[in-house]
Amino acid sequence: MDSEDDMQDAWGGESDGNLSNENEEEDEEVSQSNEPDYGFDDFAADDDINPSSRLPQSNYTILSEADIRQRQDEAINTITNFLSVSKMEAGILLRHFKWSVSKVNDEWFADEESVRKCVGLTATRAENRRRSQTENLKCAICFEMHPLSRMKASPGCGHYFCETCWTGYIHTAINDGPGCLTLRCADPVCGSAIGEDMVLGLVVEEDRLKYKRYLLRSFVEDNRKAKWCPAPGCEYAVELGFVSGAGSYDVVCKCSHNFCWNCLEEAHRPVDCETVARWILKNSAESENMNWILANSKPCPKCKRPIEKNQGCMHITCTPPCKFEFCWLCLGAWTDHGERTGGFYACNRYEAAKQEGVYDEADRRRDMAKNSLERYTHYYERWATNESSRAKAFSDLIQMQAVHIEKLSDKQCQPVSQLKFVTEAWLQIVECRRVLKWTYAYGYYLPNHEHAKRHFFEYLQGEAEAGLERLHQCAEKDLQEFLEGDTWQNNFNDFRTKLAGLTSVTRTYFEKIVRALENGLQDVVQGQGAQGSHVAQGSRRR
């Protein structure tokens, strides 16, 4: 079986006549690049090829707890060296300036005095006089006299309290939350910072762990460039390097959760965060229910309660206790209906009124709501279907990795390392389902009057859908044969070529559609939706 030709048939069948030339041209390239063309029509292709429609890995870094600690240490060391301060002081400065080394530097060198004052690094000591170890001091918290050995001074300011009171003070602060990281001296007018050393030197193990936890978390939670992965139970953070020009923030955590770094919703390329927020709001039951009620209910003409019409018949009976019988169309009493109004199944009182243009604003609004509801339902259903396909594909992928790959390896006498193409195919399917899903939100908000864009959008979406269907089919049905077949099959290599090829070409196509949509379909405006011209533009790869 010549898998490549086979696929050409399967893919190329429906393509426009004017595309066939381009396809042939591509075929030549294909033999060189060893990447068969599976019939996706090129459009508006640019020459740079992103390896994935996700952000390139270099754009962000996944941080484990150990990584975070390392970064904190690095920042502290840098500040210690630049500013010639102690590590404890560097920590206080960094926490105050949200772990931005450059901000600490700038502020410090601009006005060291006011920075010191602001963060509580007082240079002057409250009490300088020497004390003898036998001297008794009164603690201003417990009001007891203690020998100096039981008293402790804050290293920053020299204010003495007894160790028990300091410990209680710090314990209370730690249990009040992350504010303990910027704890100040217990003296009400002092304001000197209490650093990590003093805290950790006094508290019990439990508080110690809590404090260290807050310290770790502050690096992510106070930092403008880092965020926790929102997946439940995940302990990784994601640090953003720089924002890509397209303004997309999709990242993949090491826990495999794929999310938008900016809005923390699931990844949503090619639509932007604002569209996602609007769409989610739209999907929330209340906002749509209102429209639904508006479209499907009218107030009872007698008791004014909203009445829902759920059957075809126009004869409505209001719910008890009212039980008023009326006509859905004209809202007149049903007793007025009959032969005179054109029979029980048509209300020409309404038709006549409508023809005279009498039907009121409420009716018009109801009609509009009904139309917009139908339009929304169209997009929502497809959005939701792709979401459930994505979820299914994801669990298939897990199953594949956990069970099937090994089984396949046994059956087909292939080392597991040679079967990566199967998981790669499934990863691609999951990714494509996600993209496809969001194209429906995109489509919903694409203005109706932009005919060229709308036309081109639907064309791209249709192609994407068909292409993905083929990949999905191959990864599911074709693979099944090799999983269930009794013996080793010699056409397994053909299958490999086909699936790997489909994966690659589908990936390329989806990357392009993502970029085109993120671009606001700008290219189509120039080309006025003439598909041929896009193909001509895009077919050459350097």
């Binding site: 918290i141 009001f143 309290f161 009171c165 314990h171 209370t172 009400p188």
Partner: protein, 157 residues
């Protein structure tokens, strides 16, 4: 002081503070612990001279929570008062009762701060929005209302 079981392990600090409050009360302030609960104080503050509360006697309650002095005392006006930083439940907007609390502060300092708040209302950090607005738009009239309330609710009790 009667030592019921609830009061038996009262920290030395509270006992000392109480003794001092009773033996050398601050001018215009009285605070005495309740018989049943030595952490609960009946407080009276005289309206400061030169303030719209002059001539009034204001009753407050003060409670020392279990965590005291690590946590601030809880204080509330019982007498109705027209003041931008005190709401109709008698709750007081005062920084040292919240984030600026320090365990080195005392009942005495808290009550002195409340007395000072009566002398210097701060409508820019309001608890009672309406009263604060009144204070900012027409201070003379707001002060007149405060006087009227003092006469109505804080005298001849």
């Amino acid at each position: 002081m009667s030592g019921t079981t609830a009061n038996s392990n009262l920290p030395r600090r509270i006992i000392k503070e109480t003794q001092r409050l009773l033996s050398e009360p601050a001018p215009g302030i009285s605070a005495s612990p309740s018989e049943e609960n030595l952490r609960y104080f009946n407080v009276m503050i005289l309206g400061p001279t030169q303030s719209p509360y002059e001539g009034g006697v204001f009753k407050l309650e003060l409670f020392l929570p279990e965590e005291y002095p690590m946590a601030a005392p809880k204080v509330r006006f019982l007498t109705k008062i027209y003041h931008p930083n005190i709401d109709k439940l008698g709750r007081i907007c005062l920084d040292i009762l919240k984030d600026k609390w320090s365990p080195a502060l005392q009942i005495r300092t808290v009550l002195l701060s409340i007395q000072a708040l009566l002398s210097a209302p701060n409508p820019d950090d309001p608890l009672a929005e309406n009263i604060a607005k009144h204070w900012k738009t027409d201070e003379a009239q707001a002060v007149a209302t405060a006087r009227e309330w003092t006469r109505l609710y804080a005298t001849g009790a």
